[in-house]
């Protein structure tokens, strides 16, 4: 395990695109949350009765404990940025033919996939730490009273980590199958940003239950929209919260299937 992480670290530490994209991620996660926070501040700090009503109705989604949920939701919209790194890492191995050389040098085929699994785990960990810091800082800034339930919803850290890991695993699968960086990135981004949203939106509108079971949607539903989003329909919020355990199970199953498939395929095929 230590050797695997060390070897992957040797590959990534001088790979400039990795640091650029991680830098962009480090800016985008606080950025997107700040944009929503600024919007919330605008609505609730205007003079007059309306802002008071808004404040009462919305609560403060950036105060503890709701901040864990809100920041997890807003940050999760940007998982496609670290997904670019995941795709680059696997497609690099194909373009440099090092997916062969690593085996020739003495890794087993399973160990090669494990090294890529470590990449996804390491990136998930970095992203989760970033989320945790953003949520913590936002919560502390918005701490209105001394006694608050600071860690009440901090379990969203686990849900955020699982969601990120699951979606990055899907990005890995596309990179692993397609091999060519630009093609894989194109397919993933098109699916992530356009296709699945269109399909899920259309099926939801048609009230078809399959809408909840698309590969990304399964893990998207680990973190429902924050409570204020459902201000006119609290029962729908409860329904989405109740569905989270099922989606945890489905996410774990899908992600396990993705990795088992990658291990199995890599064992069988010729490494060209």
């Amino acid at each position: 395990m230590k050797t695997l992480i060390y070897t992957e670290w040797l590959k990534m530490r001088k790979y400039n695109p990795f640091w650029w994209i991680m830098g962009i991620t480090a800016l985008s996660y606080p950025g997107i949350n700040y944009i929503f926070y600024a919007g919330f501040q605008d609505i609730t700090s205007q003079p007059g009765q309306a802002s008071t009503y808004a404040k009462m109705a919305l609560g403060n989604p950036f105060a503890f404990p709701e901040v864990w949920h809100s920041v997890a939701f807003f940050s999760s919209l940007f998982v496609f940025i670290p997904a670019v790194v995941v795709i680059m890492f696997i497609s690099n191995e194909y373009s440099f033919k090092t997916h062969r050389q690593n085996i020739i040098d003495g890794w087993s085929r399973d160990r090669f996939i494990s090294s890529k699994l470590m990449d996804v785990v390491m990136i998930t960990l970095l992203i989760t730490i970033l989320y945790f810091l953003v949520a913590l800082v936002a919560g502390l800034i918005n701490q209105e009273r001394l006694i608050r339930d600071t860690w009440g919803q901090s379990y969203y850290t686990g849900l955020f980590a699982l969601q990120t890991f699951a979606q990055l695993s899907l990005a890995f699968l596309i990179g692993f199958l397609v091999r060519k960086a630009f093609l894989a990135l194109g397919i993933f981004l098109f699916y992530y940003i356009v296709l699945e949203n269109l399909l899920v939106g259309w099926l939801s509108w048609k009230k078809v239950s399959a809408a909840s079971y698309f590969p990304l949607e399964i893990s998207d539903r680990l973190i429902p929209k924050p409570g204020f989003w459902y201000i006119t329909n609290p029962s729908a919020y409860q329904k989405d919260l109740d569905a989270v355990p099922l989606h945890i199970l489905l996410t774990v199953l899908l992600t396990a299937f993705i990795w088992l498939f990658c291990y199995k395929l890599n064992r069988r095929r010729d490494l060209k």
Partner: protein, 298 residues
């Protein structure tokens, strides 16, 4: 002498093409084993299978008497097909990865092998800035890292200049002298002839012959002669009952004797007694190239 590698009845097909068709041979310890064959004969496929990057359809192989495994590959220095490295990393950083995966060598060894292949001065330059020859030399350095007892080299002199080729040849000889076993695929027969002790010849995925180079080269004696009157010489030689070939372009007569039976002093005396004075008399050693063409019917 123990067997380093035994290949047993290997079959490999790519859609409609049969790349290997029941190939079997053994590589003895401390040999320089050449795998020869024209382009597309299955050399690289064979090496790909024994290094586990290709899966055979049938058959198997054993390294050091045991089925192939990742642990065994760690002990083997390999250059397969093209130099495969991370383009954004320097020679040193790439070799650190080779070292981390294989467990062969240490930091000092990285410098040692880079000096050996004359890349030490450019060790911090990224791989993508290297010329073809430099890339090849880095691949050889990676194979040499940690001084493995067995080396697998696929076309090791690809992209090298004449000096580089001579250096690699010398390096292979040196490694053999230090007890290493080298398995080398090449289509450069001259190169193979100079360094190999054993060989396997492949054609269209089939093993044509294998064994010690001397056994493969075992063939009739060919004696080349000349005299002022070529026709008179040919007529005299016909009396020996041997096969005589007259080449008027080179002004030579060639006589074929069963292996080991050509006696130049007796031939010289016989011709002189028959009234023909020789101006040229030599026992020709058949080149591996000629033997290769014979065996592969090219």
């Amino acid at each position: 002498m123990s067997i380093v590698l035994s290949v047993d009845n290997l079959y490999k097909s790519y859609s409609t093409v049969r790349a290997l068709n029941g190939v079997s041979f053994e590589v003895p310890e401390n040999s320089v084993f050449g795998i020869l064959g024209p382009n597309g004969s299955g050399k690289t496929t064979l090496l790909g299978i024994i290094m586990d990057v290709l899966r055979p359809n049938n058959g198997g192989f054993r390294w050091f008497g045991k089925p192939g495994s990742a642990e065994q590959r760690k002990k083997i220095g390999t250059l397969l097909e093209t130099p495969n490295f991370y383009s954004y990393l320097s020679a040193t950083d790439n070799l650190k990865i080779t070292q981390a995966i294989s467990g062969r060598g240490n930091k000092q060894d990285i410098d040692t092998v880079l000096r050996k292949v004359n890349l030490y001065d450019r060790r911090w330059a990224p791989f993508k800035s290297y010329s073809l020859g430099m890339k090849q030399r880095l691949a050889i350095a990676a194979a040499l890292l940690g001084n493995p007892k067995v080396l697998v080299l696929d076309e090791p002199t690809n992209g090298l200049d004449p000096v580089g080729i001579a250096e690699i040849r010398e390096l292979i000889r040196e490694l053999k002298d230090h007890g290493h076993t080298i398995i080398m695929a090449s289509h450069l027969l001259d190169e193979v002839e100079r360094v190999c002790t054993h060989a396997a010849i492949l054609k269209n995925g089939q093993l044509i012959t294998t064994g010690h180079v001397d056994e493969i080269m075992k063939d009739d004696d060919l004696v080349e002669m000349s005299a002022a009157n070529l026709q008179a010489l040919a007529a005299v030689l016909q009396k020996t009952g041997s096969k005589v070939l007259v080449d008027e372009k080179t002004n030579m007569v060639q006589v074929v004797f069963p292996q080991g039976t050509a006696k130049l002093d007796e031939l010289n005396r016989f011709c002189f007694e028959q009234g023909v004075v020789l101006t040229h008399l030599i026992l020709k050693k058949k080149k591996l190239e000629a033997r290769f063409f014979e065996l592969t019917n090219n």
